[in-house]
Amino acid sequence: MSTRERLRGLRRLVEEAVEHGSKAVEDVHKATAARTFTVLEAIPPIAKPAKVVHTVHDLWLSGIYGAIRVGNKVVGKTLEVALDVSEDPGEREREREP
């Protein structure tokens, strides 16, 4: 496998790691917060506002982690394009040769 193919592979692996890693951390973040919110939502006087805060909190978290994933994809695509642009047109043909 050529160096360029490996660079593409590395870019893709890092992108996948950030994508899956951010999703896993987001799930942990939400699950941890849910424990506190579950207690608060069980107390009648503050149950309704707690539910609202819980929803807003989860939406906000989704936005933050979603932004990280979008940024990750943008960086990934940019690097992919940079690799394509920097490629010598004859390089791919030469790499195909045994």
């Binding site: 496998m1 593409r8 592979g9 893709r12 692996l13 996948e16 799930d27 942990v28 941890t32 045994p98």
Partner: protein, 316 residues
Amino acid sequence: MGKKLELAVAVLNGAVGDHLARTGNGLATAMTLVANGRPLACTRAALAAAHPEASARIVILVHGLMCTEDIWTLPDGSDYGSLLARDHGFTPLYVRYNSGLPIAENGKAFAALLDALVAAYPVTIEEIVTIGYSMGGLVVRSACHLASVAAPKSAWLALVRRAMYVGTPHLGAPMERVGRVVAKLLRAVDDPYTQLAAELADLRSDGVKDLGDADLRHEDRARRLPRMSLRDPRHPVPLLASIKHFLVAGSLSTDARLASVFGDSIVPLRSATDGSCIDAATFALPPDHVRIVSGASHVALAHDARVYEHLKEWCA
């Protein structure tokens, strides 16, 4: 830099190589012969150019988990292959592969590689000697098993008369089995942090998971067969009778009981010798086909002068 980069890629392949291959990632290593650190095409011209004085007897070296053919290099720059070329006139060939793939897949690829090699080798091959280090030994056994059940049988199998296994966990590696239990325990705890830890633990590759019970076929992993000796008639992949098998194990401790449990720190003696260190009376292999190298760690076994002395004697 080149060797370090190749080693880094090999470690990555060993850790998540199954994922890399599944997703078509350019970091996935395809099984290939290598010469001087570069892939060697299995064509007559390429083989003749790499080995102008190709011998009819070849020795093929298969490395273990998360390493490259560089693992064979002794401190003086030689390796078991080059030494066997010098002492017995073998032509050494080195294999590189993605050790994160299931052992069964690597066995299949190795069998195909040997088919291609026999067809393209510049002179008619009289004998193939295999030397498998750690997981490499299991890959060799998997390939031989596939070739033995294939119809018609692969031509190369008849050429393999001697197979040598260096630190190969024939009865599995306990470290992986511990990892499996830890991952299961973590998963059982209803806590988001431990669930995350369990997910991380489960990221290990299929190749690593196969080492737990030395699973050489896909169906064995799915069934989780009880560990059994290679001489047990119920064993799904026993040592082939048509081949002389030679086993080298490492032992860090001089205490027999400690050595039996810890072996070379990764593979227990019982696993590397198929129990012959404990049950020599009923062992199917002749006693001189099994050697224990004291004071040798698992990694050191791949490039130890004492190990070579055994290989040299067996290759005579």
